[in-house]
């Protein structure tokens, strides 16, 4: 029997309500991803870079044992120019429990391959990703989003932000109408 292929219409990915929404025959769309094997990650940073990273790492060591707490790792990576999601950081830490996040500490040598993995991520967000992500909320299609709407999105979707975080982020970004030009906003975000 010939497989039925509809060559004319190329349907975009439809959001199906079914749990395993995988229209393409992809066998590895599963709930639990395989555990990350960091031993295969080759650290490619130059000695100068590693020195810089070690310095930043040291700034976060409040105990003086040349280590940092698991729950500081996300911020160190951000300080070093990366934008990992909290989920990605937890994955690279080996999916620790909440207790481990607060109690376990990590030395610099173990941190490096984790950072390298994040740096190597092919799915890293680009300027276009962020702009297109925000464009979803551009109701009038004029390049702006309402600050109020963005606040709600940031606080209810994805990795929810707290009100304090949102306030800090949005400070000075809304114009007199409460609108935000999102391309300018993203440029501003990416400039640091």
């Amino acid at each position: 029997m010939a497989p039925k292929k509809d060559a004319k219409a190329a349907p975009a990915k439809k959001a199906e309500p079914a749990k395993a929404a995988a229209p393409a025959p992809e066998p590895d769309v599963v709930a639990a991803p395989p555990p990350l094997d960091l031993s295969t990650v080759k650290v490619e940073f130059t000695p100068d870079q590693q020195e810089d990273y070690k310095e930043a790492f040291g700034l976060f060591d409040r105990v003086g044992d040349a280590k940092v707490a698991y729950n500081q790792v996300a911020d160190i990576m951000r300080a070093l120019g990366q934008n990992p999601t909290n989920k990605e950081v937890r994955k690279v830490l080996g999916n620790p429990s909440d207790e481990d996040m607060a109690a376990k500490r990590l030395e610099f040598e173990a941190f490096l391959p984790m950072l390298q993995h994040i740096v190597n991520d092919p799915n890293k967000g680009t300027f276009d990703d962020y702009v297109e992500g925000l464009r979803v909320f551009d109701k009038e299609g004029n390049g702006t989003v309402m600050g109020a709407e963005l606040r709600i999105v940031l606080g209810t979707l994805g990795e929810k932000m707290t009100e304090a975080e949102i306030d800090a982020l949005m400070q000075g970004q809304e114009d007199e109408n409460g609108s935000i030009n999102f391309e300018a906003f993203v440029k501003h975000i990416m400039s640091i």
Binding site: A21, Y130, V136, V153, G158, M161
Partner: protein
């Protein structure tokens, strides 16, 4: 505040926008944007803290 024609009573927040709370794509896009925001804010905070450190260091040298 305009209500929808179906006459279904909604809260004020529902009227503001249709937030796709269950849409995995929307959540994924939001998480990516939030990650960039958190990165930006951390770097901004560190930048603001740094000058103080440098001033202190140079004061000690002088």
């Amino acid at each position: 505040m305009e209500c929808r024609n179906d006459g279904c009573p909604r809260t004020h927040e529902d009227d503001i926008m249709d937030i796709p709370l269950d849409d995995p794509e929307a959540n994924k896009a939001a998480a990516k944007i939030q990650a960039s925001f958190r990165g930006h804010m951390t770097r901004k905070r560190m930048k603001e803290d740094k000058p103080r450190e440098e001033v202190r260091a140079s004061a000690e040298l002088g």
